[in-house]
């Protein structure tokens, strides 16, 4: 499993892996929104939590088809399926590698963009914490979506149609944590629910992902 994780990380970081792309996309969203909405401080501060979460969501979505598509094309997915570790563990490892290369950089980078978008200082730490708790769910759900559509040529749009509705609970609770944190309210409830969704997704979805990969490899 560790070898697989290191391999996926190495593939993602090296050229063509699109490691920085998600981050750059996140940055561009945060730059374009004030240009569209106007530089007014209060408006930006109000919509900042939602924009930042949406940006993280879309940045995550952009890199989803890379999780399995390349392995599918060059046949290494068949080898992984016959490897001594269960396919469920492969699915979980792939999701973890995706999170480490897209989710974690977003978490570290998000407070900077929060400042750019005039998010209240009290909200910055909550933003990072909410992303830290919530983005693993995005990677796990995304890996499931990628497994469903891996056999389809040009399945990118279909992937987003399938995955985005599954992101609804994470987005709702994640943005609620930041909004409440920025307003100085208590954030315990949405944070706990966000963590619950991440835990649930991480617990059940690798099995569904492995089932979908098996069907596609049949």
């Amino acid at each position: 499993m560790r070898a697989l994780l290191l391999r996926d990380l190495r593939l993602a970081v090296r050229a063509g892996g699109g490691f920085g792309l998600a981050l750059a996309f996140f940055l561009i969203v945060a730059v374009l929104v004030p240009l569209g909405v106007g530089p007014g401080g209060t408006t930006l501060a109000v919509i900042a939590p939602g924009i930042l979460w949406l940006g993280a969501l879309l940045a995550c979505l952009l890199s989803l088809d890379r999780i399995l598509a390349l392995d599918w094309e060059d046949g290494s997915l068949d080898l992984l399926a016959t490897a001594p570790i269960p396919l469920e563990a492969v699915a979980a490892t792939k999701a973890l590698a995706h999170w480490l290369t897209t989710g974690l950089p977003l978490v570290l980078f998000a407070p900077v963009l929060g400042v750019l978008l005039n998010l209240a200082p009290a909200g910055l730490a909550w933003l990072a914490l909410a992303l830290l708790v919530g983005t693993p769910a995005l990677s796990v759900i995304g890996t499931f979506g990628a497994a469903l559509t891996v056999g389809i040529r040009r399945g990118g749009l279909l992937l987003s149609l399938i995955v985005l509705p599954l992101y609804v609970p994470t987005l709702v609770f994640g943005a609620a944590v930041v909004t409440r944190g920025a307003a100085g309210l208590t954030t315990a409830t949405p944070l706990a629910l966000l963590a619950a969704i991440t835990a649930l997704a991480a617990a059940i979805l690798p099995f569904a992902t492995a089932a979908a990969i098996r069907v596609n490899l049949r």
Partner: protein
């Protein structure tokens, strides 16, 4: 004699062919009766006037929108566990019907909401979760359409249906948390104070029964079409081969 006998497509075709005209006729009859009763023989509401009568389309459609997904969930489970092709095709057949019911519920709600709430659309939890349900239907149907091998498509959509059900329920509670509602509570509450008057309740029950029959007739007809399309494809493949 058990339900599983209808896993045999020939058996299913024979029985559903015999049943379908009756179900269709009964659905048409019940629908006409319920709508005529609801539209012309119920009093106007003292506050909502005649707009209250959209209830007789809105509530049954909303009910069937959810029930269609539940039916797809059960059919998907049966396909995954017992590999009965009729079951997978029934789930495929139910999806567009369910999506249409969702759309009908949303549209009639908007038509009613314009004069009553003063807006076509509000980000109310119920409205929002129905919109999300519509997105789930669209994703499910798109996946069916995109995968070429029918067995692979049936497997993948079944897995998506199972996972989607979990997340649909999660989304329902998430949007409940997210915003306060404008929508009224349960239409069929049994609590005495909230209960609808019998003049509205009886035609509503009839309309709901009519929508169940309508759904049954549509799904049966669509499943039969799917089975015939599958047979046609097999025949053509055989012709090409031989």
């Amino acid at each position: 004699m058990s339900l599983w006998e209808y896993a045999n497509p020939a058996r299913f075709m024979a029985t559903s062919g015999a049943v379908l005209p009756w179900v269709s006729a009964l659905a048409a009859l019940a629908l006409t009766a319920a709508l005529v009763w609801g539209f012309f023989f119920t009093p106007d509401d003292f506050r909502q006037g005649a707009t209250v009568k959209i209830l007789f389309v809105h509530v049954p459609a909303a009910m069937m929108a959810i029930n269609a997904w539940i039916m797809m969930l059960v059919a998907s489970l049966v396909w995954l566990v017992r590999r009965h092709h009729v079951s997978a095709l029934a789930a495929k057949a139910a999806a567009p019907v369910g999506a249409t019911m969702t759309l009908v519920a949303l549209t009639t709600g908007a038509i009613w909401g314009q004069p009553m709430w003063g807006t076509w659309w509000a980000w109310d939890p119920r409205l929002t979760s129905f919109l999300i349900l519509l997105l789930f239907y669209l994703g499910y149907m798109a996946l069916w359409a995109a995968v070429e091998n029918p067995d692979t498509a049936a497997d993948l959509t079944s897995v998506l249906c199972l996972v989607g059900s979990v997340f649909a329920v999660l989304s329902r509670y998430a949007v409940n948390f997210w915003n306060q509602g404008l929508h009224q509570g349960a239409s069929l509450s049994l609590a005495p104070g909230e209960r609808m008057d019998v003049a509205f309740r009886l035609p509503l029950y009839l309309a709901m029964a009519a929508f169940v029959l309508l759904f049954l007739a549509l799904v049966l007809a669509r499943t039969r079409t799917e089975i015939r399309a599958r047979r046609l494809r097999a025949l053509m493949a055989r012709e090409r081969a031989g």
